[in-house]
Amino acid sequence: MSKVIKVGMADLNICKSPDIITTLGLGSCIGLTLYDPVTKVGGMVHYMLPDSTQMRNNSNIAKFADTGIDELLKQVLRAGANRTRLVAKIAGGAKMFSVSGSSNISNIGERNALAAKAKLKQLRIRLIAEDTGLNYGRTVELHCETGDFYIKAIGKPVKKI
């Protein structure tokens, strides 16, 4: 039987086959997974903000794209993943309210998604699938047995990327 490991907001964890790792109700946050298809080791970070260096209070590393992805990488490698085989998938980064202004917060989802891409590029990890933006919440699951990444949203069919 496979276990389901839950990742909260500003949280990260790792997962091995046959287990499933999930995070519920991603809004403007991003759920990013790293996965090694050979050893079937993966992990997920659910971060809230794009950049820890612009914040005074940055002690929780899973809260930020830069520090969160670094830590997730460290943990999946320690769990037996091979760095050159790692692939990434991301979901989330929605704009939950159609606020018209261009305030810091109104485009946070988009900035979060861009931060993932920049960080992955810097780490030379391939981003092979994404489902980001738009205006609805997403519950996501990474199945470590297959590497499939499922996205559930209210009133929409389950999507696999």
Binding site: A10, G27, M48, L49, M55, S59, F97, Y136, G137, I154
Partner: protein
């Protein structure tokens, strides 16, 4: 940069917010009662200081559907506020407003969403009015924006807003109703500078 951080002003701020919440919820209850032509009672609001990362599951399961109404706030205080309703409460209010049976249930259509937005608008404006008259600060709310989605995804908006400054957020819970009790939740998100404006206006200092 603000003189106070949310962490520093906690106890004082919680008391002030509870009182403002009390007056605001009172105003809101009166407004809704007269609009719907029913009698409504309300309880003293509860104020909870939460870890930002716990906000997603603070009012119900993370993937339960809720209604969120969001307003931006301008003028003397900059920031935003949010009013949240669970689905059963939202359905009840819409039914009352649209003159349907109390237990009617369906997916919200455009008209229902518009009615909910208006209810959220009245409640938020009543709350802001209380804050404004207590502090003598000019507070101008934007038009309301609505989202019906998973609790955690809606609450990610205030979580991110608070998360920029610290690790805590304040959630105000009010309960009003007659035979059916309605649970509503407020989250006030002032920009960092606005905390000391609110506290200074109330004659409080550290």
């Amino acid at each position: 940069m603000g003189k106070f951080t949310l962490e520093e002003v906690n106890t004082m701020y919680v008391d002030v917010l509870r009182e403002i919440g009390n007056i605001g919820a009172g105003n809101a209850t009166t407004a809704i009662a007269s609009m719907l032509g029913i009698r409504l009672d309300m309880s003293v609001p509860k104020v909870a200081l939460l870890e930002v990362s716990q906000l997603g599951s603070a009012i119900c399961r993370e993937d339960e559907t809720i209604v969120g109404i969001f307003l931006e706030v301008q003028s003397d205080i900059e920031g935003s506020m949010m009013f949240l309703l669970k689905m059963d409460s939202a359905q009840f209010l819409v039914n009352k407003l649209m003159g349907r049976d109390g237990d009617f249930k369906t997916e919200f259509d455009e008209m229902d969403l518009s009615a909910l937005k208006e209810i959220g608008n009245i409640i938020a404006a009543s709350y802001l009015n209380a804050l404004s008259s207590l502090t003598n600060l000019v507070i101008t709310p934007s038009i309301p924006y609505i989202a019906v989605d998973m609790a955690a995804s809606i609450l990610s908006v205030p979580a991110i807003e608070f998360g920029q400054f610290g690790d805590h957020a304040l959630l105000i819970q009010t309960e009003f109703g007659d035979d059916v009790m309605i649970n509503g939740y407020f989250i006030l998100m002032p920009e960092e500078d606005s905390y000391d404006k609110i506290l200074t206006a109330l004659g409080l200092s550290l």
